[in-house]
Protein backbone atom coordinates (compact mmCIF):
# COMPACT_ATOMS: atom_id res chain seq x y z
CA UNK A 1 0.00 0.00 0.00
CA UNK A 2 2.73 2.39 0.95
CA UNK A 3 4.84 1.91 -2.17
CA UNK A 4 2.48 4.00 -4.22
CA UNK A 5 2.75 7.73 -4.29
CA UNK A 6 -0.16 9.27 -2.53
CA UNK A 7 -1.53 12.66 -3.13
CA UNK A 8 -2.04 13.55 0.48
CA UNK A 9 -4.42 16.36 0.76
CA UNK A 10 -3.06 17.48 4.09
CA UNK A 11 0.14 19.37 4.37
CA UNK A 12 2.18 17.76 7.15
CA UNK A 13 3.32 21.17 8.36
CA UNK A 14 -0.24 22.34 8.55
CA UNK A 15 -1.22 19.28 10.54
CA UNK A 16 1.50 19.90 13.05
CA UNK A 17 0.42 23.45 13.50
CA UNK A 18 -3.13 22.40 14.07
CA UNK A 19 -2.10 19.96 16.76
CA UNK A 20 0.01 22.56 18.51
CA UNK A 21 -2.87 24.96 18.57
CA UNK A 22 -4.94 22.39 20.31
CA UNK A 23 -2.53 21.90 23.10
CA UNK A 24 -3.39 23.70 26.27
CA UNK A 25 -0.61 25.45 28.08
CA UNK A 26 -0.37 23.58 31.31
CA UNK A 27 -0.63 25.51 34.48
CA UNK A 28 1.49 23.83 37.08
CA UNK A 29 -0.26 23.51 40.36
CA UNK A 30 -0.01 20.69 42.88
CA UNK A 31 -2.43 17.90 42.18
CA UNK A 32 -5.15 17.13 44.74
CA UNK A 33 -3.86 13.58 44.77
CA UNK A 34 -0.30 14.55 45.65
CA UNK A 35 -0.90 13.88 49.35
CA UNK A 36 -2.28 10.44 48.59
CA UNK A 37 0.72 9.62 46.49
CA UNK A 38 3.09 10.75 49.23
CA UNK A 39 1.29 8.62 51.79
CA UNK A 40 1.45 5.62 49.50
CA UNK A 41 5.16 6.07 48.88
CA UNK A 42 5.80 6.47 52.61
CA UNK A 43 3.84 3.33 53.33
CA UNK A 44 5.78 1.27 50.82
CA UNK A 45 9.08 2.71 51.91
CA UNK A 46 8.51 2.15 55.60
CA UNK A 47 6.99 -1.32 55.29
CA UNK A 48 8.95 -2.88 52.48
CA UNK A 49 12.24 -1.23 51.77
CA UNK A 50 13.68 2.19 51.24
CA UNK A 51 14.59 1.45 47.63
CA UNK A 52 11.37 -0.40 46.73
CA UNK A 53 9.91 2.64 45.01
CA UNK A 54 11.74 3.42 41.83
CA UNK A 55 9.64 6.35 40.81
CA UNK A 56 6.43 8.04 41.90
CA UNK A 57 4.40 10.57 39.98
CA UNK A 58 0.94 11.90 39.32
CA UNK A 59 -0.44 11.01 35.91
CA UNK A 60 -2.15 14.29 35.03
CA UNK A 61 -3.50 12.99 31.77
CA UNK A 62 -5.40 10.27 33.56
CA UNK A 63 -7.36 12.37 36.03
CA UNK A 64 -4.39 12.82 38.38
CA UNK A 65 -3.85 9.15 38.89
CA UNK A 66 -1.22 8.39 41.54
CA UNK A 67 1.31 6.10 39.91
CA UNK A 68 4.34 4.44 41.38
CA UNK A 69 7.00 2.22 39.92
CA UNK A 70 8.03 -0.63 42.20
CA UNK A 71 11.28 -2.51 41.81
CA UNK A 72 10.48 -6.02 40.68
CA UNK A 73 12.11 -8.01 43.58
CA UNK A 74 9.89 -6.20 46.11
CA UNK A 75 6.69 -6.54 44.13
CA UNK A 76 5.14 -9.61 45.74
CA UNK A 77 5.75 -8.30 49.23
CA UNK A 78 4.42 -4.88 48.31
CA UNK A 79 1.34 -6.43 46.74
CA UNK A 80 0.54 -8.33 49.92
CA UNK A 81 1.10 -5.23 52.00
CA UNK A 82 -1.17 -3.11 49.77
CA UNK A 83 -3.96 -5.62 50.02
CA UNK A 84 -3.67 -6.15 53.76
CA UNK A 85 -2.91 -2.57 54.76
CA UNK A 86 -5.63 -1.09 56.94
CA UNK A 87 -5.62 2.32 55.31
CA UNK A 88 -5.48 1.21 51.67
CA UNK A 89 -7.14 -2.21 51.45
CA UNK A 90 -6.44 -2.43 47.74
CA UNK A 91 -8.35 -5.66 47.29
CA UNK A 92 -9.63 -5.21 43.76
CA UNK A 93 -7.26 -5.63 40.84
CA UNK A 94 -9.06 -4.14 37.91
CA UNK A 95 -6.59 -4.40 35.11
CA UNK A 96 -3.16 -5.72 34.25
CA UNK A 97 -1.45 -4.58 31.07
CA UNK A 98 1.90 -5.47 29.66
CA UNK A 99 3.75 -2.99 27.51
CA UNK A 100 6.80 -3.47 25.36
CA UNK A 101 8.88 -0.29 25.45
CA UNK A 102 11.50 -1.80 23.15
CA UNK A 103 14.31 -1.32 25.67
CA UNK A 104 12.40 -2.78 28.58
CA UNK A 105 9.02 -4.26 29.47
CA UNK A 106 6.52 -2.78 31.84
CA UNK A 107 3.57 -4.38 33.53
CA UNK A 108 0.92 -2.00 34.80
CA UNK A 109 -1.49 -2.92 37.58
CA UNK A 110 -4.57 -0.81 38.25
CA UNK A 111 -5.81 -1.30 41.78
CA UNK A 112 -8.87 -0.20 43.64
CA UNK A 113 -10.22 -0.59 47.13
CA UNK A 114 -13.70 -2.02 47.41
CA UNK A 115 -13.72 -2.09 51.21
CA UNK A 116 -13.19 1.56 51.94
CA UNK A 117 -15.45 4.35 50.90
CA UNK A 118 -12.56 6.18 49.39
CA UNK A 119 -12.47 4.49 46.02
CA UNK A 120 -9.22 5.82 44.68
CA UNK A 121 -7.50 4.17 41.75
CA UNK A 122 -3.84 3.46 42.10
CA UNK A 123 -1.54 2.55 39.30
CA UNK A 124 1.51 0.42 39.96
CA UNK A 125 4.15 -0.33 37.41
CA UNK A 126 6.88 -2.91 37.41
CA UNK A 127 9.69 -2.87 34.94
CA UNK A 128 11.38 -5.92 33.49
CA UNK A 129 14.45 -6.49 31.37
CA UNK A 130 14.08 -6.83 27.66
CA UNK A 131 16.26 -9.96 27.77
CA UNK A 132 14.74 -12.66 29.94
CA UNK A 133 11.93 -10.58 31.45
CA UNK A 134 10.53 -11.80 34.72
CA UNK A 135 8.17 -10.33 37.32
CA UNK A 136 6.94 -12.14 40.44
CA UNK A 137 3.40 -13.38 40.04
CA UNK A 138 0.71 -11.88 42.26
CA UNK A 139 -1.90 -14.53 41.54
CA UNK A 140 -1.66 -15.60 45.17
CA UNK A 141 -2.65 -12.07 46.20
CA UNK A 142 -5.35 -11.28 43.65
CA UNK A 143 -6.90 -14.13 41.70
CA UNK A 144 -7.68 -11.71 38.90
CA UNK A 145 -4.03 -11.74 38.00
CA UNK A 146 -4.16 -15.39 37.00
CA UNK A 147 -5.41 -15.20 33.43
CA UNK A 148 -4.15 -11.68 32.95
CA UNK A 149 -0.61 -12.79 33.68
CA UNK A 150 -1.04 -15.77 31.42
CA UNK A 151 -2.17 -13.45 28.66
CA UNK A 152 0.83 -11.21 29.15
CA UNK A 153 3.13 -14.23 29.18
CA UNK A 154 1.51 -15.46 26.00
CA UNK A 155 1.55 -12.22 24.08
CA UNK A 156 4.66 -10.54 25.47
CA UNK A 157 6.74 -13.38 26.84
CA UNK A 158 7.19 -12.04 30.36
CA UNK A 159 7.77 -14.80 32.90
CA UNK A 160 5.81 -14.75 36.14
CA UNK A 161 7.61 -16.98 38.65
CA UNK A 162 5.16 -18.24 41.24
CA UNK A 163 2.24 -18.47 38.84
CA UNK A 164 0.29 -21.72 39.31
CA UNK A 165 -0.24 -22.46 35.63
CA UNK A 166 1.80 -20.27 33.33
CA UNK A 167 0.75 -21.54 29.93
CA UNK A 168 -0.26 -19.86 26.71
CA UNK A 169 -3.87 -18.77 26.80
CA UNK A 170 -4.73 -17.06 23.53
CA UNK A 171 -2.27 -18.58 21.08
CA UNK A 172 -1.88 -22.31 20.47
CA UNK A 173 0.62 -24.16 22.67
CA UNK A 174 3.14 -24.53 19.84
CA UNK A 175 3.06 -20.94 18.70
CA UNK A 176 6.44 -19.38 18.12
CA UNK A 177 7.23 -15.94 19.45
CA UNK A 178 5.15 -13.45 21.38
CA UNK A 179 2.91 -11.42 19.08
CA UNK A 180 2.63 -8.20 21.06
CA UNK A 181 6.37 -7.62 21.13
CA UNK A 182 7.37 -4.77 18.93
CA UNK A 183 9.97 -6.85 17.11
CA UNK A 184 7.59 -9.73 16.45
CA UNK A 185 7.78 -11.07 12.92
CA UNK A 186 4.64 -12.82 11.76
CA UNK A 187 5.30 -16.26 10.33
CA UNK A 188 3.08 -15.59 7.36
CA UNK A 189 2.86 -11.87 6.62
CA UNK A 190 -0.18 -12.43 4.42
CA UNK A 191 -2.30 -13.54 7.35
Amino acid sequence: MSDQKHVTEMDPKEAKKEIEENEVVEIVEPSPNQAKLDRLVDLVKSNIAEDAVEEAYINELDRDLPSIVIRSPYWLKTAMMLKESETLKLNYLRNVSGIDYETYFEVVYYLLSMSTDNQQDICIKIKADREDPSIPSVTSVWNTANWNEREIYDLLGIQFPGHPNLKRIMMPEDWEGHPLRKDYEPIDPEV
Binding site: E18, I19, N59, R94, N95, S97, I169, M170, L180
Partner: protein
Protein backbone atom coordinates in the same frame (compact mmCIF):
# COMPACT_ATOMS: atom_id res chain seq x y z
CA UNK B 1 -20.80 -46.53 47.73
CA UNK B 2 -20.44 -47.53 44.13
CA UNK B 3 -17.76 -45.59 42.33
CA UNK B 4 -17.83 -45.04 38.62
CA UNK B 5 -14.89 -44.54 36.36
CA UNK B 6 -13.92 -40.95 35.73
CA UNK B 7 -15.13 -39.59 32.44
CA UNK B 8 -13.25 -36.89 30.56
CA UNK B 9 -15.73 -34.84 28.61
CA UNK B 10 -14.87 -32.17 26.13
CA UNK B 11 -17.57 -29.54 26.22
CA UNK B 12 -17.04 -27.31 23.23
CA UNK B 13 -15.58 -25.59 21.29
CA UNK B 14 -18.72 -26.41 19.34
CA UNK B 15 -21.51 -26.88 21.83
CA UNK B 16 -24.96 -25.32 21.99
CA UNK B 17 -24.43 -23.76 25.41
CA UNK B 18 -20.90 -22.43 25.35
CA UNK B 19 -22.09 -19.24 23.65
CA UNK B 20 -19.41 -19.35 21.01
CA UNK B 21 -16.17 -21.15 20.54
CA UNK B 22 -15.41 -21.81 24.16
CA UNK B 23 -14.21 -25.13 25.43
CA UNK B 24 -14.27 -26.63 28.91
CA UNK B 25 -12.62 -29.93 29.61
CA UNK B 26 -14.52 -31.46 32.49
CA UNK B 27 -13.77 -34.55 34.49
CA UNK B 28 -17.01 -36.24 35.43
CA UNK B 29 -17.71 -38.68 38.17
CA UNK B 30 -21.12 -39.89 37.13
CA UNK B 31 -22.62 -36.53 36.29
CA UNK B 32 -20.71 -34.62 38.94
CA UNK B 33 -17.84 -32.46 37.81
CA UNK B 34 -14.60 -33.06 39.68
CA UNK B 35 -12.39 -30.79 37.64
CA UNK B 36 -12.96 -28.18 34.95
CA UNK B 37 -10.36 -26.58 32.73
CA UNK B 38 -11.52 -23.77 30.45
CA UNK B 39 -9.72 -23.41 27.14
CA UNK B 40 -10.08 -20.13 25.32
CA UNK B 41 -8.46 -18.36 22.40
CA UNK B 42 -10.39 -19.87 19.50
CA UNK B 43 -11.67 -16.46 18.56
CA UNK B 44 -8.49 -14.51 19.24
CA UNK B 45 -8.11 -11.97 16.48
CA UNK B 46 -5.30 -9.93 17.91
CA UNK B 47 -7.22 -6.67 18.16
CA UNK B 48 -4.54 -5.18 20.37
CA UNK B 49 -1.77 -6.00 17.91
CA UNK B 50 -3.78 -4.79 14.95
CA UNK B 51 -4.46 -1.54 16.74
CA UNK B 52 -0.77 -0.72 16.90
CA UNK B 53 -0.78 -0.15 13.16
CA UNK B 54 -4.09 1.66 12.90
CA UNK B 55 -5.09 5.20 13.68
CA UNK B 56 -7.46 5.75 16.57
CA UNK B 57 -10.43 6.23 14.27
CA UNK B 58 -9.61 3.04 12.46
CA UNK B 59 -9.51 1.07 15.70
CA UNK B 60 -13.11 1.93 16.59
CA UNK B 61 -14.69 -0.53 14.11
CA UNK B 62 -12.51 -3.23 15.61
CA UNK B 63 -13.95 -2.56 19.04
CA UNK B 64 -17.41 -3.24 17.58
CA UNK B 65 -16.33 -6.77 17.05
CA UNK B 66 -15.02 -7.42 20.54
CA UNK B 67 -18.22 -7.54 22.51
CA UNK B 68 -20.49 -7.79 19.53
CA UNK B 69 -23.60 -7.85 21.69
CA UNK B 70 -22.76 -4.46 23.11
CA UNK B 71 -20.81 -2.58 20.47
CA UNK B 72 -21.88 0.88 21.60
CA UNK B 73 -20.21 0.69 24.99
CA UNK B 74 -17.06 -0.64 23.36
CA UNK B 75 -17.06 2.29 20.97
CA UNK B 76 -17.46 4.60 23.88
CA UNK B 77 -14.66 3.28 26.04
CA UNK B 78 -12.08 3.81 23.32
CA UNK B 79 -13.35 7.27 22.40
CA UNK B 80 -13.52 8.15 26.06
CA UNK B 81 -9.92 7.09 26.60
CA UNK B 82 -8.65 9.17 23.71
CA UNK B 83 -10.78 12.13 24.78
CA UNK B 84 -9.40 11.90 28.32
CA UNK B 85 -5.87 11.91 26.96
CA UNK B 86 -6.60 14.90 24.76
CA UNK B 87 -8.73 16.62 27.39
CA UNK B 88 -11.56 17.18 24.93
CA UNK B 89 -14.84 18.83 25.73
CA UNK B 90 -17.73 16.89 24.17
CA UNK B 91 -20.78 18.82 22.95
CA UNK B 92 -23.88 18.38 25.04
CA UNK B 93 -26.00 16.86 22.29
CA UNK B 94 -23.33 14.29 21.49
CA UNK B 95 -23.12 13.30 25.15
CA UNK B 96 -26.86 12.77 25.27
CA UNK B 97 -26.88 10.74 22.11
CA UNK B 98 -24.07 8.62 23.45
CA UNK B 99 -25.82 8.05 26.73
CA UNK B 100 -29.09 7.13 25.05
CA UNK B 101 -27.51 4.63 22.71
CA UNK B 102 -25.44 3.13 25.51
CA UNK B 103 -28.48 2.59 27.71
CA UNK B 104 -30.48 1.18 24.80
CA UNK B 105 -27.53 -1.07 24.15
CA UNK B 106 -27.54 -2.21 27.76
CA UNK B 107 -31.18 -3.18 27.44
CA UNK B 108 -30.54 -4.96 24.15
CA UNK B 109 -27.59 -6.81 25.60
CA UNK B 110 -29.48 -7.89 28.70
CA UNK B 111 -32.33 -9.06 26.52
CA UNK B 112 -29.97 -11.27 24.57
CA UNK B 113 -28.66 -12.58 27.84
CA UNK B 114 -32.13 -13.18 29.21
CA UNK B 115 -33.24 -15.05 26.13
CA UNK B 116 -30.18 -17.21 25.74
CA UNK B 117 -30.01 -17.94 29.45
CA UNK B 118 -33.51 -19.35 29.39
CA UNK B 119 -32.65 -21.24 26.25
CA UNK B 120 -29.76 -22.80 28.16
CA UNK B 121 -32.12 -23.74 30.92
CA UNK B 122 -34.43 -25.29 28.37
CA UNK B 123 -37.22 -22.81 27.74
CA UNK B 124 -37.56 -21.84 24.11
CA UNK B 125 -40.11 -19.08 23.90
CA UNK B 126 -38.44 -16.40 26.05
CA UNK B 127 -35.62 -16.30 23.53
CA UNK B 128 -37.96 -15.25 20.77
CA UNK B 129 -39.86 -12.80 22.94
CA UNK B 130 -36.61 -11.14 23.98
CA UNK B 131 -35.43 -10.93 20.40
CA UNK B 132 -38.65 -9.26 19.35
CA UNK B 133 -37.88 -6.36 21.69
CA UNK B 134 -34.19 -6.37 20.86
CA UNK B 135 -35.11 -6.14 17.21
CA UNK B 136 -36.84 -2.83 17.90
CA UNK B 137 -33.71 -1.43 19.52
CA UNK B 138 -31.58 -2.70 16.69
CA UNK B 139 -33.88 -1.13 14.15
CA UNK B 140 -33.54 2.16 15.97
CA UNK B 141 -29.78 1.83 15.83
CA UNK B 142 -30.01 0.93 12.18
CA UNK B 143 -31.88 4.12 11.53
CA UNK B 144 -29.42 6.11 13.57
CA UNK B 145 -26.11 4.81 12.26
CA UNK B 146 -26.82 2.46 9.40
CA UNK B 147 -25.81 -0.82 10.96
CA UNK B 148 -27.54 -3.41 13.04
CA UNK B 149 -24.71 -4.90 15.01
CA UNK B 150 -21.35 -3.29 14.29
CA UNK B 151 -22.44 0.26 14.75
CA UNK B 152 -19.21 2.27 14.58
CA UNK B 153 -21.30 5.16 15.76
CA UNK B 154 -18.98 7.09 18.03
CA UNK B 155 -15.93 9.02 17.02
CA UNK B 156 -13.29 10.73 19.05
CA UNK B 157 -14.95 13.98 20.00
CA UNK B 158 -18.55 13.06 19.45
CA UNK B 159 -20.80 10.89 17.35
CA UNK B 160 -21.00 10.36 13.65
CA UNK B 161 -24.69 10.97 13.07
CA UNK B 162 -27.24 13.25 14.59
CA UNK B 163 -30.58 11.72 15.54
CA UNK B 164 -32.87 11.59 12.49
CA UNK B 165 -36.33 13.13 12.48
CA UNK B 166 -38.55 11.52 15.06
CA UNK B 167 -35.90 9.19 16.39
CA UNK B 168 -36.04 10.52 19.92
CA UNK B 169 -39.81 10.05 19.87
CA UNK B 170 -39.29 6.44 18.95
CA UNK B 171 -37.08 6.00 21.98
CA UNK B 172 -39.68 7.76 24.09
CA UNK B 173 -42.39 5.41 22.86
CA UNK B 174 -40.20 2.42 23.42
CA UNK B 175 -39.90 2.99 27.17
CA UNK B 176 -43.53 2.26 28.21
CA UNK B 177 -43.68 -0.55 25.66
CA UNK B 178 -40.62 -2.21 27.16
CA UNK B 179 -41.96 -1.80 30.70
CA UNK B 180 -45.10 -3.58 29.62
CA UNK B 181 -43.10 -6.38 28.11
CA UNK B 182 -40.95 -6.70 31.22
CA UNK B 183 -44.09 -7.43 33.21
CA UNK B 184 -44.91 -10.14 30.73
CA UNK B 185 -41.43 -11.59 31.07
CA UNK B 186 -41.79 -11.63 34.79
CA UNK B 187 -45.06 -13.51 34.54
CA UNK B 188 -43.60 -15.95 32.10
CA UNK B 189 -40.39 -16.77 33.88
CA UNK B 190 -39.59 -15.08 37.17
CA UNK B 191 -42.13 -17.06 39.19
CA UNK B 192 -41.77 -20.35 37.38
CA UNK B 193 -41.01 -23.04 39.96
CA UNK B 194 -38.88 -25.12 37.63
CA UNK B 195 -36.82 -22.08 36.73
CA UNK B 196 -36.40 -21.07 40.37
CA UNK B 197 -35.30 -24.56 41.30
CA UNK B 198 -32.75 -24.46 38.52
CA UNK B 199 -31.12 -21.16 39.49
CA UNK B 200 -31.54 -20.71 43.24
CA UNK B 201 -28.43 -21.59 45.20
CA UNK B 202 -26.52 -22.55 42.07
CA UNK B 203 -23.05 -21.14 41.42
CA UNK B 204 -22.86 -19.38 44.73
CA UNK B 205 -19.92 -17.22 45.81
CA UNK B 206 -19.51 -14.47 48.36
CA UNK B 207 -18.45 -10.87 48.02
CA UNK B 208 -14.90 -11.60 49.14
CA UNK B 209 -14.41 -14.13 46.35
CA UNK B 210 -16.03 -11.87 43.80
CA UNK B 211 -13.66 -9.03 44.64
CA UNK B 212 -10.70 -11.37 44.74
CA UNK B 213 -11.49 -12.62 41.24
CA UNK B 214 -12.00 -9.08 40.01
CA UNK B 215 -15.56 -9.73 38.92
CA UNK B 216 -17.58 -6.78 37.77
CA UNK B 217 -21.05 -5.91 36.62
CA UNK B 218 -23.97 -8.02 37.71
CA UNK B 219 -21.58 -10.80 38.76
CA UNK B 220 -20.19 -8.51 41.45
CA UNK B 221 -23.41 -6.78 42.40
CA UNK B 222 -25.18 -10.07 42.98
CA UNK B 223 -23.01 -10.58 46.07
CA UNK B 224 -24.01 -7.37 47.79
CA UNK B 225 -21.19 -5.13 46.64
CA UNK B 226 -22.80 -1.93 45.49
CA UNK B 227 -20.34 -0.94 42.83
CA UNK B 228 -21.45 0.52 39.56
CA UNK B 229 -19.05 2.72 37.66
CA UNK B 230 -21.91 4.90 36.49
CA UNK B 231 -22.43 5.88 40.13
CA UNK B 232 -19.10 5.31 41.81
CA UNK B 233 -16.79 6.78 39.20
CA UNK B 234 -19.18 8.64 36.91
CA UNK B 235 -18.28 9.18 33.31
CA UNK B 236 -20.13 10.87 30.49
CA UNK B 237 -23.15 12.65 32.01
CA UNK B 238 -24.41 9.85 34.22
CA UNK B 239 -24.14 11.99 37.33
CA UNK B 240 -27.07 14.08 36.09
CA UNK B 241 -29.56 11.26 36.18
CA UNK B 242 -31.41 9.54 38.92
CA UNK B 243 -31.20 5.79 39.02
CA UNK B 244 -30.59 3.00 41.51
CA UNK B 245 -27.90 0.39 41.47
CA UNK B 246 -29.64 -2.95 41.87
CA UNK B 247 -27.94 -5.19 44.40
CA UNK B 248 -28.66 -8.70 45.62
CA UNK B 249 -26.87 -10.44 48.43
CA UNK B 250 -27.29 -14.12 47.62
CA UNK B 251 -24.51 -14.39 45.06
CA UNK B 252 -26.15 -17.23 43.16
CA UNK B 253 -27.44 -17.46 39.62
CA UNK B 254 -30.84 -16.24 40.71
CA UNK B 255 -29.35 -13.11 42.26
CA UNK B 256 -27.51 -12.41 39.02
CA UNK B 257 -30.75 -12.91 37.14
CA UNK B 258 -32.57 -10.44 39.37
CA UNK B 259 -29.80 -7.86 39.15
CA UNK B 260 -29.76 -7.92 35.35
CA UNK B 261 -33.52 -7.83 35.19
CA UNK B 262 -33.62 -4.82 37.48
CA UNK B 263 -30.87 -3.17 35.45
CA UNK B 264 -33.13 -3.15 32.42
CA UNK B 265 -35.69 -1.24 34.45
CA UNK B 266 -33.10 1.22 35.69
CA UNK B 267 -31.85 1.77 32.16
CA UNK B 268 -35.38 2.60 31.15
CA UNK B 269 -35.47 5.13 33.95
CA UNK B 270 -32.29 6.77 32.73
CA UNK B 271 -33.62 6.79 29.18
CA UNK B 272 -36.82 8.41 30.29
CA UNK B 273 -34.92 11.30 31.86
CA UNK B 274 -32.44 11.57 29.03
CA UNK B 275 -35.16 11.78 26.43
CA UNK B 276 -36.86 14.54 28.41
CA UNK B 277 -33.69 16.56 28.80
CA UNK B 278 -32.47 15.97 25.28
CA UNK B 279 -31.12 19.28 23.96
CA UNK B 280 -33.08 20.81 21.14
CA UNK B 281 -30.12 21.66 19.04
CA UNK B 282 -26.39 21.64 19.11
CA UNK B 283 -23.26 20.27 17.64
CA UNK B 284 -22.53 16.58 17.66
CA UNK B 285 -18.80 16.82 17.15
CA UNK B 286 -16.17 18.65 19.14
CA UNK B 287 -13.44 20.48 17.33
CA UNK B 288 -11.01 17.70 16.73
CA UNK B 289 -7.84 17.89 14.68
CA UNK B 290 -7.96 15.98 11.42
CA UNK B 291 -5.28 13.63 12.49
CA UNK B 292 -5.75 12.59 16.09
CA UNK B 293 -2.45 12.65 17.89
CA UNK B 294 -3.01 12.48 21.64
CA UNK B 295 -0.20 13.82 23.81
CA UNK B 296 2.44 11.47 25.05
CA UNK B 297 1.37 9.59 28.14
CA UNK B 298 -0.95 6.88 29.25
CA UNK B 299 -4.50 6.60 30.37
CA UNK B 300 -6.80 3.93 31.70
CA UNK B 301 -10.52 4.60 31.38
CA UNK B 302 -13.22 2.25 32.46
CA UNK B 303 -16.95 2.29 31.98
CA UNK B 304 -19.83 0.06 32.95
CA UNK B 305 -20.62 -2.17 30.02
CA UNK B 306 -23.56 -4.58 30.29
CA UNK B 307 -21.07 -7.28 31.20
CA UNK B 308 -19.10 -5.30 33.73
CA UNK B 309 -16.15 -2.99 33.79
CA UNK B 310 -14.74 -2.55 30.33
CA UNK B 311 -11.48 -0.66 30.42
CA UNK B 312 -9.18 0.81 27.85
CA UNK B 313 -5.51 1.38 28.53
CA UNK B 314 -3.74 3.52 25.98
CA UNK B 315 -0.05 4.27 25.85
CA UNK B 316 0.40 7.14 23.47
CA UNK B 317 3.64 8.33 21.95
CA UNK B 318 2.10 11.34 20.25
CA UNK B 319 1.60 9.35 17.08
CA UNK B 320 -1.64 8.85 15.14
CA UNK B 321 -1.45 5.21 16.12
CA UNK B 322 -1.56 4.00 19.72
CA UNK B 323 1.74 2.66 20.98
CA UNK B 324 -0.06 0.07 23.03
CA UNK B 325 -3.78 -0.41 23.35
CA UNK B 326 -5.07 -2.81 25.93
CA UNK B 327 -8.68 -3.58 26.66
CA UNK B 328 -9.79 -4.82 30.02
CA UNK B 329 -12.44 -7.17 28.78
CA UNK B 330 -15.04 -7.92 31.45
CA UNK B 331 -16.02 -11.31 30.03
CA UNK B 332 -12.40 -12.42 30.13
CA UNK B 333 -11.95 -11.44 33.75
CA UNK B 334 -15.36 -12.73 34.84
CA UNK B 335 -14.81 -16.10 33.24
CA UNK B 336 -11.83 -16.86 35.48
CA UNK B 337 -14.06 -17.84 38.34
CA UNK B 338 -15.74 -20.58 36.31
CA UNK B 339 -13.46 -23.57 37.16
CA UNK B 340 -13.84 -22.76 40.85
CA UNK B 341 -17.63 -22.65 40.62
CA UNK B 342 -17.96 -25.84 38.63
CA UNK B 343 -16.29 -28.28 41.00
CA UNK B 344 -18.91 -30.47 42.61
CA UNK B 345 -21.70 -29.36 40.31
CA UNK B 346 -23.55 -31.48 37.76
CA UNK B 347 -23.44 -31.15 33.99
CA UNK B 348 -26.81 -29.42 34.10
CA UNK B 349 -25.48 -26.77 36.45
CA UNK B 350 -22.48 -26.20 34.23
CA UNK B 351 -24.81 -24.70 31.67
CA UNK B 352 -26.66 -22.66 34.28
CA UNK B 353 -23.48 -21.25 35.80
CA UNK B 354 -21.79 -20.48 32.52
CA UNK B 355 -24.91 -18.76 31.25
CA UNK B 356 -25.20 -16.83 34.51
CA UNK B 357 -21.74 -15.31 34.12
CA UNK B 358 -22.85 -13.84 30.79
CA UNK B 359 -19.83 -14.02 28.53
CA UNK B 360 -19.36 -13.04 24.93
CA UNK B 361 -16.60 -15.03 23.33
CA UNK B 362 -15.54 -12.24 21.02
CA UNK B 363 -14.66 -10.31 24.13
CA UNK B 364 -13.09 -13.17 26.07
CA UNK B 365 -10.64 -13.86 23.29
CA UNK B 366 -10.03 -10.28 22.24
Amino acid sequence: MIRTEELLLNVGPQHPSTHGVFRIIVKLDGEVITEATPVIGYLHRGTEKLAENLTYTQVIPYTDRMDYVSAMTNNYVLCHAVETLMDLEIPERAEFLRLIVMELQRIASHLVWWGTYLLDIGAMSPFLYAFREREMIINMFNELCGARLTYFYMRVGGVKWDAPEGWIDKVRDFIPYMRDKLDEYEQLVSGNEIFLARVKGVGKYDAQTAIDYGLSGANLRSTGVKFDLRKNQPYSIYDRFEFDVPVQTEGDCYARYLVRFEEIKQSLRILEQAVEQFPEDGKIMAKVPRVIRPPEGEVYTRIESPRGEIGCHIVSKKKPQPYRLKFRRPSFVNLQILPKLLVGETMTNLVTILGGIDIVLGEVDG
